[in-house]
Amino acid sequence: MTVAQPAADPHLIQLLTPEGERLHHPDYDVDLTDEEYRSLYRDLVLVRRIDVEATALQRQGELGIWAALLGQEAAQVGSGRALRPQDFAFPTYREHGVAWCRDVDPLKLLGLFRGATNGDWDPEETRFALYTIVIGSQTLHATGYAMGVTKDGAVGSGDVLKDEAVIAYFGDGASSQGDVNEAFVWASVYNAPIVFFCQNNQWGISTPAATQSRIPLYKRAEGFGFPGVRVDGNDVLATYAVTRQALDSARTGQGPTLIEAFTYRMGAHTTSDDPTRYRLSSELEAWKLKDPLERMKAFLFKQQVADASFIEAVEGEADALASRIRKGCLEMPDPSPMVMFDQVYEEMTPLLRTQAEEFATYHAGFAQGGAH
């Protein structure tokens, strides 16, 4: 099956061509300072480096698995940077770039894929929920949270620096789940301040997006009575502009928007996956020409917003980040087995207390050479 080419789609919102030319769009635009443009580029580079380093650590047996975001950096950084501090994001398991924008330490992401924790960041403090693995379930949590925002009157006051919005991430595959469609029902009926951000990276493991929908996914929203837009997800500026506007629309009380970020999963689904079994390398080659980092770099050069020394400085930062991650990962302590018992409930139940005590005694026995 052939994948539609974004450039050919008149409904695709683009502010930056793959060659780094700046386009203008009647409804969406951004007007950023040079500093901000550079900063976006820096994010893209750092986020990719986190991803590359984590992939390498997995290959070396330090992580059980890793879900790479390779190719989706612009979709994530563009939308992540569009969030205002008070906004709340609900990720899948691949939103490392959004996590970065929410100041979640990348080591916490690694801790999850290493099997040391289930994430271990503070959702409230970072305004970034824990990763969710059961496909689509977080979209309902996000919708409920957004309903709570409305209940709290934190919407439509006119103050965009105070009013809140919620963003729910999910993939093209997830669009088929009942939960996601129920979230659309709820969000529209309660006019919840939420943005549904679908990264259509063309694949759900080995399943092409065409197996999930026979029409472009952004159109799904129409069926539920709220707007859907398709943005070039490899274009960080367009993603930023479209998401910012959708979030502000939500926070001002205009309800939900569905954004389909048209992008591409350039790597395997996870490090356990082998995409050569189900897709042609020519597809990947075609998408490489639309690489989100390259186009932003080209733009910076063309606009003379940055020069080689800036690029080099960012690379230096990325190297430092990578070695911090590597070191942190190698040094990461294993959790105490007692974590199994201690937070199942707010207070340990008698049954768990007995099990925890027996466990401790049993292992103490081992320590004293009492084993078989």
Binding site: H141, G144, A183, Y345
Partner: protein, 324 residues
């Protein structure tokens, strides 16, 4: 002290909880103007407004999933599932999301959510309206599972469940909704997770919860006439299960019979039997026996009385227990 039906006692309990804490909200299908199909939320939307008591779209996964988000936002949602048989579309949200959230977030994210479910049979209903799904929830770590058996407990347990920061599956024996009792709202309730000896006896302990407590009490009353003294334990909390109270009772009577409407195979009765033999192996004089619904789908209502444990079947098994 007022005489209340269980439905009304729950209603008053919900009202008290809502008055106490403005974060308590009620959500579910037809709970607003209609007051729920059993009228348990009757009048609450009128008094607390549509913001705190609201009808949802018809989708149970949506109900529980959005409740989880509302809880993350600081609310304390009480969800009504209209009938036992309709909780399963929400099963993933309950078992994989709600139950695990506290543990996976290392206690950072609390889930003070109550899922109210009218459960059990005996009301002459059509398919999917008479299920006893408690084992599915009790087997799930991270959930608490409660079943009230009388108006007084209903009144207090619902408030305690709402006050709990853990997610609670709150099972209401629908065929007992209209039974009455004198409720003193100022009384001091027992702790939520504590079982209770509701009738003392010396020969056999009957262990039950929800709708079967009354059946057991009736059986014990009938047995008394035949000169047998049955103790009845109302578990109240199915998970965590208050084994202390159960053990104490069975230590005295040395015989136990568990009674529930749910099928026997891998049901609550099995767990109670297993634990009793693990703990009181040398103290019991008979195996723990079970009186349960059969291991079949709930039948058409014209034969439900044959499916459900009743006084006679309980006494029949009590006899068997005494034969050991």
């Amino acid at each position: 002290m007022v005489q209340l039906t269980m439905a009304k006692a729950l209603n008053e309990g919900l009202r008290a909880a809502m008055e106490r804490d403005p974060k308590v909200i009620l959500m579910g299908e037809d709970i607003g103007k209609l007051g729920g199909v059993f009228r348990v939320t009757d009048g609450l939307q009128k008094d607390f407004g549509e913001d705190r008591v609201f009808d949802t779209p018809l989708a149970e996964s949506g109900i529980v999933g959005t409740a989880i988000g509302l809880a993350m936002r600081g609310y304390r949602p009480v969800c009504e599932i209209q009938f036992d048989g309709f909780v399963f579309p929400a099963y993933d949200q309950i078992v994989s999301q709600l139950a695990k959230m506290h543990a996976r977030s290392r206690g950072r994210v609390k889930m003070p959510i109550v899922i109210r479910i009218p459960f059990g049979g005996g009301i002459g209903a059509v398919e999917h309206h008479s299920e006893s799904p408690e084992a599915y929830f009790a087997h799930t770590a991270g959930l608490k599972v409660m079943a009230c058996s009388n108006p007084i407990d209903a009144h207090f347990m619902i408030q305690q469940a709402i006050a709990s920061n853990d997610p609670v599956i709150f099972l209401e024996p629908k065929r007992r909704y209209w039974e009455k009792a004198d409720v003193d709202p100022t009384a001091m309730p027992d702790p939520l997770e504590q079982a209770r000896v509701v009738r003392s006896g010396t020969d056999v302990t009957l262990i039950a919860y929800g709708p079967m407590v009354k059946t057991c009490l009736d059986a014990a009353a009938a047995a008394e006439e035949d000169g047998r003294s049955l103790e009845v334990v109302d578990l109240r909390s199915l998970s965590p299960l208050d084994f202390q109270t159960v053990f104490e009772s069975v230590r005295r009577t040395r015989r136990a019979v568990v009674v529930h409407e749910a099928s026997s195979f891998v049901g609550l009765g099995a767990e109670i039997s297993a634990r009793l033999s693990e703990e009181l192996y040398y103290e019991m004089e008979a195996p723990v026996l079970r009186v349960t619904g059969y291991d079949a789908p709930y039948p058409p209502s014209r034969v439900e009385e044959e499916f459900l444990p009743d006084l006679d079947r309980v006494l029949h098994i009590v006899d068997k227990s005494l034969e050991y």
